[in-house]
């Protein structure tokens, strides 16, 4: 069994040290290999911790706990899933432990939160937000919008749209169905959009405002109003 693994690894290492090769080297006593794993994944572990806990201080502690746990349990990593999925699960569990909340049932909140989809703002956005605000401020606004999300939506959003995990991987990491994850993700995306829209919408011009009103009132009225405006 061990011999077979070594052969597979020799083939993989040639393509650049992937996670599994680093895991194997760590298990064989190579400390540098684990340090490489930490360097490679620290941002993900930090962001996921932040997604669960919502503040930097707790996230930092959870991040450290997660890596220590991963190190101590590397020998038990079965390779049925990707290393990143395994590490993300450890991270989420470490973060939840920190928050002392068990995830053995769907929180009651979810039914309430899911009632109506948040889609109030329906104006177009400025074509180039970076011109408006600059990259630094934009990033701040994005971070704020994400932080404002309810925790279960924030998790889904960070895993999918910040860490760019697949839906399957994200669902597996959180321990829910893909359907449940997609439902949370939809709401998270709409909420982030809503928050950012406040800063990025282009205020409608007068004629467009008339047209919008007309959409409710009827086309002939709109035509009449437009003729009045154009005179």
């Amino acid at each position: 069994m061990v011999g077979m693994r070594n052969e597979e690894n020799l083939a993989r290492v040639g393509a650049g040290e992937d996670d599994l090769a680093l895991v194997d080297r760590t298990v064989c006593g190579d400390r540098g290999a684990f340090e490489s794993l930490v360097r490679r994944h620290e941002r993900r572990v930090y962001r996921v911790s932040l997604a669960v806990l919502g503040n930097a201080e707790d996230a930092e502690e959870a991040m450290q706990d997660a890596f220590v746990k991963a190190y101590r349990h590397l020998g038990q990593f079965r390779r049925e899933s990707k290393f990143t999925t395994w590490l993300t699960r450890i991270t989420i569990n470490a973060a939840l432990e920190k928050r002392s909340l068990r995830r053995d049932s769907v929180p009651l909140d979810e039914a309430q939160l899911a009632a109506e989809l948040p889609a109030q703002r329906t104006e177009n956005w400025h074509a180039d937000p970076e011109k408006l605000y600059g990259k630094q401020e934009l990033r701040g606004r994005v971070e704020e919008a994400i932080r404002a999300l309810p925790e279960i939506y924030r998790e889904a959003f960070v895993l999918r749209d910040v860490e760019e995990m697949s839906a399957e991987e994200a669902a597996e990491s959180v321990g829910i169905t893909v359907g449940a994850l997609k439902s949370r993700l939809l709401r998270a995306r709409l909420m982030v959009r809503e928050t950012l829209a406040a800063a990025l919408e282009v205020p409608p011009t007068l004629s467009r405002r008339i047209l919008h009103t007309a959409e409710g009132v009827g086309i002939t009225v709109a035509a009449r109003l437009m003729r009045t405006v154009r005179k």
């Binding site: 991040m63 101590r72 349990h73 020998g75 956005w125 749209d161």
Partner: protein, 90 residues
């Protein structure tokens, strides 16, 4: 039988549509709805812009001090132990 979608049905499936998921039939129905509904078109467009913006700004860096403290702790743990348990197992 062709089904015409309502705005709230389109909204419920918006995330899947953005990700390229969903049956061909559903996707076509949504595309057709978009062609004649400004409101849903704008919501779709700005949702896509949201995701692009998030990717562009690349939020939540690990602060240098946080990273440094992490490595200090890892060093300590690595020094205490030698190889992890379970080496001869799976």
């Amino acid at each position: 039988m062709k089904k015409t979608l309502l705005c709230n049905e389109v909204l419920e499936n918006l995330s899947c549509y953005v990700d390229g998921d969903g049956s061909a039939e559903l996707r076509q129905a949504i595309t057709q709805h978009m062609a004649r509904c400004r409101r849903c078109r704008v919501i779709l467009d700005t949702t896509q812009r949201t995701l692009k913006l998030v990717a562009d700004v690349d939020p939540f860096e690990v602060p240098l001090a946080v990273s440094a403290r992490l490595y200090t702790r890892i060093e300590r743990v690595l020094s205490e132990d030698f190889p992890t348990e379970g080496l001869t197992g799976a």
